[in-house]
């Protein structure tokens, strides 16, 4: 076997299991005596339950019980994750007669079969006293709060006197940009199997945050966290939807305790739109001042962002827009608008999708005002140091991203005038550029690696596999240290029985998990070398332990080599254990303890000596028939500065995914709100339109692939988020270039582009 190196184009280590159906997801569990639960949801926009008639539903054959707020039992208060807790929202299901939003769970049918549950659900008769509500940002008289006042952990980003700097500039860009609510819609539905054994609870659920789920459930149930095990080896797509504890999980747990049998609960697709977090609507008021030759003098980025009536979901997009260019003065501030929905939360590029659609559209508009090439404008304003803190960047290769992307795309052949590039049949061609950045975060992790006699490697660490390829990245790192085939390593992640399972999100997964894995693997190699060089009569006796190499079960040195099994047998050891914690600058000393109690404890983007961001440049080509103006993205070139690439194949897949998300955000994705009813109307994946294969044509991805060892020892920065930052803006800018139409709200649909 050839040696696996960092950056290897290794096959996905779980690919075979996934296509063979051997990778077991949450709801794949079928346990003896298992029963099924189905939530019933509120059909008013807000109000109060006035009566519940369960008679007909409970009479359905196979129905065990229907629970509602009168019978579920009181849960202990769980805390919203951004208020320091574990839950996607503080409002818990089935706790009172109050209905906060349409689609909120108000009852739960538990039945022997899923069919019986589905038969009974419409027979539950609930009457409501409806109350007024607001679900639109644009409605008058909403309740608004200044984020920096109401949630001081999330301050404004300010330096200098930006208002004056903009007002005094010879050229001013001043526009408002809007984005629709969006839903993550991973393929795997929210689903859980809950099982009690005495006072111990086991939860099988695809999660990005199994420790938070464990600890949050412990709070809700008032039992020790040690009595709960959450098992989440695979997730069928996370995208931020599963970053903390959602309301359905406790329903399954309580139901299983009530009926004394394992309970499976799969939230139907139509309910998913109201069952957990989503991307809230945003409004971005962007003001940029510039000199006539294109130097920005200041920026003001004011955001109105949707939150719920009962939680303050922070919106921190200006944390990154404030660092994007060399702003001599800047203000970023958020106003939260309280609407009657579930609490919004994370969705891939959670703050940056909207904030960079706004900023990068504005930069495009500014370039046109200045009669400057939009790539040149961005290069001219590239920042050397962080405008907010004055610290250097751990690494910043945005310039290379733009230059390499422009070269690969053929940007120099672009004719600047909108509508000036056409196919022979009159179809308009638009070329757009946008850049993006995403904060470099890193979290705590503990890795334990065991090398057994016979060569088996068993590895456990905090992390969740949601398709992004973290298992493969981990395996590549361990394989490169231990000289084994990545596919032979047994990887134990996403399980609270193993080391702390810190939330996997924010593009910090690989950077967080791989360093400890490297250190733990390296510790084993060092132990082996230490043993072999001390084993008298052995072929490696007396050699310098640091000079030895480990590959395919052999430890090799100058003029000799020895089997690992022989070393272990001679030492009378069944195997060796290594432990690693990584060494992460800026992480709080108690971060791993925080992870063990289900709290998010990341460092970044500000570190003691630097700030850290990943960067990206997108170049998009659209074609638009002017009479049938549905924009189609025909080419995409994306160049990413994510530090060192650890696992090339999964990295490229993540990058393609980011492009696809950008296309969907730009052109089709949007959750529709009827203000008369509340909730989300297009609650299925036929009408909520993510991009499909036919919408994605030629995509090219390039990595700068230069290590950033200021950020971590492996030199890898985050990738999963940054690849989708700015992608929608590149499409929107291309649409403008093709048509001359500037569309400042997403998604861009054909009615905006008709003559």
């Amino acid at each position: 076997m050839s040696k696996t190196k960092l950056g290897a184009n290794a096959e996905r280590v779980d690919g075979r299991d996934k296509v063979m159906g051997k990778a077991i997801y949450g709801a794949d569990r079928i346990l003896p005596h298992m029963v099924h639960a189905l939530p019933i949801t509120a059909t008013v926009g807000k109000g109060r339950i006035t009566s519940i008639d369960l008679g007909a539903a409970e009479a359905v054959k196979g129905v065990l019980v229907v629970l509602d707020y009168r019978t579920l039992g009181r849960l202990k208060p769980v805390v919203f994750s951004f208020a320091g807790g574990h839950a996607i929202q503080s409002l818990q299901p089935l706790q009172s007669a109050d209905v906060a939003y349409r689609g909120q769970a108000v009852a739960l049918v538990i039945a022997e079969t899923l069919e019986a549950a589905y038969e009974a659900a419409p027979l539950v008769k609930i009457s409501y006293a409806a109350e007024p509500f607001e679900v639109e940002m644009s409605a008058a008289g909403q309740e608004e709060v200044k984020q920096a006042v109401a949630a001081p952990y999330f301050p404004d980003f300010v330096h200098g006197d930006p208002e004056a700097a903009v007002a005094g500039a010879p050229v001013i860009l001043d526009e408002v940009y809007r984005t629709s609510p969006q839903h993550q819609n991973p393929m795997e539905l929210l689903s859980v199997v809950a099982e009690w054994d005495g006072d111990h609870l086991t939860i099988h659920e695809g999660s990005q945050a199994s420790q938070a789920m464990q600890c949050g459930l412990a709070v809700q149930l008032g039992i020790p966290a040690d009595n709960i095990r959450v098992i989440s080896p695979y997730v069928g797509g996370g995208f931020g939807q599963r970053g903390s504890l959602s309301p359905h999980t406790i329903l399954a747990a309580v139901a299983a305790r009530k009926v004394g049998r394992p309970v499976k609960l799969t939230v139907p697709r139509s309910q998913v739109f109201h069952a957990t977090s989503f991307r809230g609507a945003n409004e971005h008021h962007v003001r940029i001042g510039a000199t006539r030759d294109g130097q920005v003098t200041g920026g003001v980025h004011l955001v109105r962002a949707q939150t719920s009536r009962f939680d303050l979901m922070p919106y921190t997009g200006e944390e990154t827009t404030s660092r994007m260019y060399a702003w001599p003065a800047f203000r970023g501030a958020t106003t939260l608008v309280k609407l009657d929905t579930q609490t919004p939360g994370f969705m891939r590029a959670p703050m940056e999708m909207g904030s960079f659609f706004a900023l990068e559209s504005a930069m495009d508009e500014l370039a046109i005002k200045l009669d400057l090439d939009p790539v040149a404008l961005r290069l001219k304003n590239d920042a050397v140091a962080d405008p907010i803190t004055g610290k250097p960047f751990s690494s910043r290769r945005l310039k290379e991203c733009l230059e390499r992307g422009a070269a690969r795309f053929g940007w120099d052949r672009r004719s600047a005038t909108p509508g000036s590039m056409q196919d022979p049949d009159g179809v308009l061609i638009g070329w757009g550029v946008a850049a993006g950045a995403y904060p470099g975060y890193i979290g705590p992790a503990l890795a334990k690696v065991r090398l057994q006699r016979g060569g088996k490697v068993i590895l456990s660490v905090g992390g969740h596999e949601m398709g992004q390829g973290i298992r493969t990245a981990i395996a590549v790192v361990a394989a490169s240290e231990l000289g084994v085939d990545p596919e032979t390593i047994e990887i134990r992640i996403g399980d609270t029985a193993y080391p702390p399972q810190h939330t996997t999100a924010g593009a910090w997964g690989a950077a967080t998990a791989t360093m400890p894995v490297r250190d733990a693997s390296r510790a084993i190699r060092q132990q082996l070398a230490g043993l072999a060089t001390k084993q008298k009569g052995g072929p490696l006796h007396g050699q310098d332990p640091t000079s030895l190499t480990l590959q395919d079960g052999w430890l090799s040195g100058y003029g000799g080599r020895q089997r690992v099994d022989d070393i272990l047998r001679t030492a009378r050891l069944p195997g060796l254990d290594g432990e690693g914690r990584g060494d992460v600058p800026g992480l709080k000393p108690d971060a791993l303890k925080q992870a063990a109690i289900g709290k998010i404890s990341t460092a970044g983007p500000e570190f003691p000596d630097h700030v850290s961001f990943s960067f990206v440049a997108h170049f998009a080509e659209v074609r638009i028939d002017p009479r049938l103006p549905r924009p189609r993205v025909t080419r995409f070139v994306t160049v990413v500065d994510c530090g060192r690439v650890i696992s090339r194949r999964t990295a490229e897949s993540q990058a393609y995914g980011g492009i696809v998300w950008g296309i969907g955000s730009a052109l089709s994705e949007g959750s529709e709100v009827d203000p008369r009813f509340g909730g989300f109307l297009n609650n299925n994946i036929a009408e909520y339109q993510v991009a499909v294969n036919a919408d994605v044509r030629r995509c090219e991805v390039e990595f700068i692939d230069r290590e950033d060892t200021n950020f971590n020892g492996l030199g890898a920065k985050g990738l999963g988020e940054v690849v989708c930052v700015g992608a929608a803006a590149a499409v929107a800018n291309a649409v403008h270039h093709a048509t001359g139409r500037r569309v400042r709200s997403l998604p861009i649909r054909m009615e905006e582009l008709l003559a």
């Binding site: 059909t43 349409r102 069919e115 589905y118 038969e119 419409p122 139509s270 028939d625 009479r627 049938l628 549905r630 189609r632 052109l667 089709s668 529709e672 009827d674 008369r676 009813f677 109307l681 297009n682 609650n683 036929a686 009408e687 339109q689 991009a691 499909v692 294969n693 036919a694 919408d695 649909r749 054909m750 009615e751 008709l754 003559a755």
Partner: protein, 330 residues
Amino acid sequence: MNPFDYTVAHSVDAAVSALGGSGRPSKILAGGTTLVDLMRLNVEQPAAVVDITRIPGLNHIDTEGREALVFGALARMSDVADDPVVRRDYPVLSESLWRAASQQLRNMASLGGNLLQRTRCAYFRDRQYPCNKREPGTGCSALEGLNRGHAVLGVSDQCIAVYPGDLAIALVALNASIDVQSTAGARTLRVADLHREPGQTPNLETALRPDELILRIRVPKSRLGKASTYLKIRDRESYAFAVASAAVALDMDGDVIRDVRIAVGGLATRPWRAHAAEQSLVGKTFTEAAAAQAGRLSLQGAATRPQNAFRVELGANTVAEALKIARERA
């Protein structure tokens, strides 16, 4: 989903008598792609379901006859779409089928069932909203609601739900008919007469009797088939319903239009034949201006709402573009 009686019919006679016999609301199960979906949503709540998929001889594709193409009601969408004669001589039919739904759905869905596909109106598909089609007299939520996707042709003050199918648009353009059978006997009706406009009774969608079963679809053979197309305009490139569509077939004599058929989809409450547009073209030289004029005439009488007003221009442009594509095939 409610409990229901499930019967497998092994013959047409058994099917129609099962449909008519019980006196209870019964539904035919073929591919199941609409019915099962709507049953899961509790929008369809039949007391009995009659499975016709095991009736022999209903899935034939016969393109050899002199008079007509004949498709059994159980022929699969994907099979008809891929039929070599259909693809070569009647591209409008093939395109209307393979531009519908997804490959998985086309592999399941039957031709007869596809004709009876029900609207995608979100208010219709969810029982928590008032809907005159689902529950007469409760009101139409779409009139003042989210109606970007709703009809501009054939609408009433009771309902503006779009007929969502694609195949029926092509069939109407080609003067197709269907053979149906009930306990009262057999009859043939034009596809153009199959669907009803909502009027004051949007709950009544077709001219079929409750116990009537579609047996086959007949498409008269015609020189119009070859120079034909189904152009479907949608928000994403695949797996989406039409924002506007046009089925167009041309018979050219040099540059002069000898005969033409135009039907529009995604814009109307039923498959919509544009006779006035056709008449404007017959006997005329084909020009872009004439095609554009036919497009505008195809949308004559449109009644719009603020969110769907753009579809008049879009629909007209779709027809004009489809005419150009068909012209290139002539």
